[in-house]
Symmetry: C2
Subunit: 443 residues, 2 copies
């Protein structure tokens, strides 16, 4: 019997857990699910005879070691900073590792030791990063095989509320890690466009959102991800003139979000001392000039937006200027804003979420310009089996299966942009209803 340890039973873990349990009998696995809230893990296991819920605190090295030492594979859905800590223990005790997150420097540095011990540490195997990498690389390999010369690669992904549940003025609900949404873009973005490096600092990122029309579906807008430059290299496209990875939102989101950024309400690097004694109105007023004008008007004037206009209404709708008390004790602006928006942009029972992937590649073949366009739109099945849970959890689950079965043979720190990884996973995802459609046309 092989022991599978799943670390983290939150929002993104539901389909990962059920996939592993569904295949546990056939492959002779026992699945331990650890979470700081044992009941969540228990509920998601649902009494399955091959599953067990345990209390798991990733900030307690002893507890980490207790469960990792018996595992054959560790599937980590821990907070981003903690994967490497889990992997270090896995390295010591001889367990494979799968994560759905970007590989950190510490993770990358474990390549040689993991390889020597015959272990596979498979990273970036979720939705984004994950499905986007796999589809992108499948398309790139397809074009190269034909002899095409790539001139432009753009890849977009968004975790959004489905159109039928999109019922607030921001066109956004928290379908995944809310703090990541608050801090999104704070590092700015660098990418390549028409042969030159382009950098956008945080203060210009959201005002530069671009319209993205997914043919036959609908219009979105996109802001660039932090670090396209590294992936241009990792994908082996060092010479490609345009390389952009970006995030999708419904139209209008970025312009409004940029107002929160300009106000300074998304900063996470200092606390507001005594925030627990303030209302939201008092707090936000501290960012506005002192004047005799109504605070609502000052807000519009400070931001240079029309009083009473759409943007102004969107801001006021958040209750930023309400007398709601702030609960957070000496919170950072980002934390204080988070608490407010968690309520206003809540993904509610009965809501449906949606993952949208879109990829546009241009290449030259036989002297002609071609365009290869792929997209994937998938919605949640219910409030547990959300699109985000399926698109994050299923790639990781399938990846874990392939490592345990010996279908993935490469050892060391591994990514889903090699064919050995992307091909079987994309095929199985398609069988599960998560499939891209592509067109390839010549101009």
């Amino acid at each position: 019997m092989k022991n599978v340890l799943i670390c983290g039973a939150g929002m993104s873990a539901t389909d990962l857990i059920s996939y592993m349990l569904r295949h546990a009998e056939k492959y002779d696995w026992f699945v331990t699910v650890g979470d700081i809230v044992v009941d969540t893990a228990k509920r998601k296991i649902g009494g399955h005879p091959r599953g067990k819920a345990v209390y798991f605190d990733c900030y307690d090295p002893q507890i980490m070691e207790r469960y990792i030492k018996d595992a054959d594979i560790v599937i980590s859905l821990l907070p981003p900073g903690m994967h490497a800590a889990a992997a270090k223990i896995a390295l010591q005790h001889g367990a494979h590792v799968v994560t759905a997150s970007y590989a950190s420097r510490e993770m990358i540095d474990m390549h040689e030791p993991a390889e020597k011990k015959g272990l596979t540490f498979l990273n970036e195997l979720g939705a984004d990063p994950g499905i986007d990498h796999m589809s992108g690389m499948r398309s790139i390999d397809f074009i190269r095989k034909k002899g095409g010369e790539l001139t432009s690669f753009e890849s977009y992904c968004g975790s959004l509320v489905a159109p039928e549940s999109n019922d607030n003025p921001w066109g956004y609900k928290f379908t995944w890690s809310p703090m990541n949404v608050i801090l999104a873009g704070s590092t700015g973005a660098c990418y390549y466009y028409q042969g030159s490096l382009r950098c956008l600092p945080y203060n210009r990122l959201f005002e530069n959102a671009k319209k993205i029309e997914i043919p036959g579906f609908r219009e979105f807008e996109a802001y660039e991800n932090r670090d396209s430059v590294t992936f241009r290299h990792k994908y082996g496209l060092d010479e490609i003139p345009t390389f952009i990875r970006a995030t999708l939102r419904y139209p209008g989101f970025c312009e409004a979000w940029n107002l929160l950024v300009k106000l300074g309400l998304t900063a996470d690097n200092y606390p507001i001392e005594g925030s627990e004694n303030m209302t939201y109105r008092e707090w936000v007023s501290s960012y506005l000039p002192q004047s005799d004008a109504k605070l609502e008007d000052s807000l519009a004037d400070q931001l240079g937006i029309e009083r009473g206009g759409t943007l102004h209404q969107k801001l006021l709708w958040t209750d930023l200027l309400s007398n709601r008390p702030i609960k957070r004790v000496s919170g950072t602006p980002a934390e204080i804003l988070l608490d407010l928006l968690l309520d206003k942009l809540k993904f509610k029972d009965g809501d449906t979420d949606m993952l949208v992937f879109y990829e546009r590649i241009q290449y030259r073949l036989n002297g002609r310009l071609h365009e290869h366009v792929s997209h994937l739109v998938t919605k949640g099945l219910d409030h547990d089996h959300t699109a985000i849970s399926r698109t994050v959890g299923l790639p990781a689950a399938i990846g874990a299966k392939l490592v345990l079965n010996g279908q993935i043979k490469t050892r060391g720190v591994l990514y889903p942009w090699t064919r050995e990884v992307y091909e079987p996973i994309l095929n199985e995802l398609a069988d599960l209803g998560i499939a891209y459609s592509s067109t390839d046309k010549r101009f």
Copy 2:
């Protein structure tokens, strides 16, 4: 004999080291000076029989312990994050601690254990924080003793190049930690003004610089420090309507610096992959829109400043658009900018630096408004005995002496805003020529 350990022999340590050696015979001290560059420590000890230079790496816990365990007092001029690590070892081995830096959360948490062990951990005993705290609190106590009711407290400090060495268009040279200058203000600032909390995010801090006229001296400008709110509380002024701590620069600096902030060149939270293969011109061009205009003109247009105007000239003077190669390997924007400015804004041999402290307090007494104004301007004596070395090192040195002599009796984590600390230190600083002049007038 008592063992004094000085950790760090850099720019700010010269006068600290010479003060401790000068008094070593009288008080029977032996002074060990540790630095990662032993020669620097050796040169500053200058063969004194009661001094010894040792190799000291604060990132190596074994080396830290080797020297701290024999010390009666540790004077730490280590990087900000490392004081608490040194203090932890000092706590274990029974040594007092003095620092010239803000007390971190970890430091503050050592209050009770230090107190129990009969140890004094004296923090914030440099120039700013340090001299500003001491003078501010002396003035506050003076006013309170008269029965005055404080209505406004403003405290300003700047480490600047002296007017006679101020020979570049920015009116600034690196007289202290250059990276701190690059990152200054990145957390924004919160303070109290006329009874209400005011917050300025980074993107508005430098454009809100205020003119500060030091009566009888000259005009400066100031931008607010990160965290006046905490000090309002620490000074015991919870009810005061206006409380501001701020940093002084020569006029014109802030407006120009804000351009670098707006461009995004001071960000320190992401690397520019492959920066070592670029020139400064190529790098900065990535932040400007692609156009047919000359890059110099694009820069002005992007920032909304006059082509060829003073601000434009200041920017170009830095060689931001020169073909100088970037040396930093995958550096952050802040690091890349630092390398350039280190050269352009270098504090050269023969240059003189200057510390300026200015404090303006308003209070009501017998129904009348009063103003208490103090300032201190001190210049460096030579390239080693700079104003920054004297104003950072001498308070720490005197503080260490007072702890060793038993004149400071309070144990636990301590700050210079108690009379036991500020009175003897300010008096001795005055004897050393570092003295405030004050006026108190009634309106």
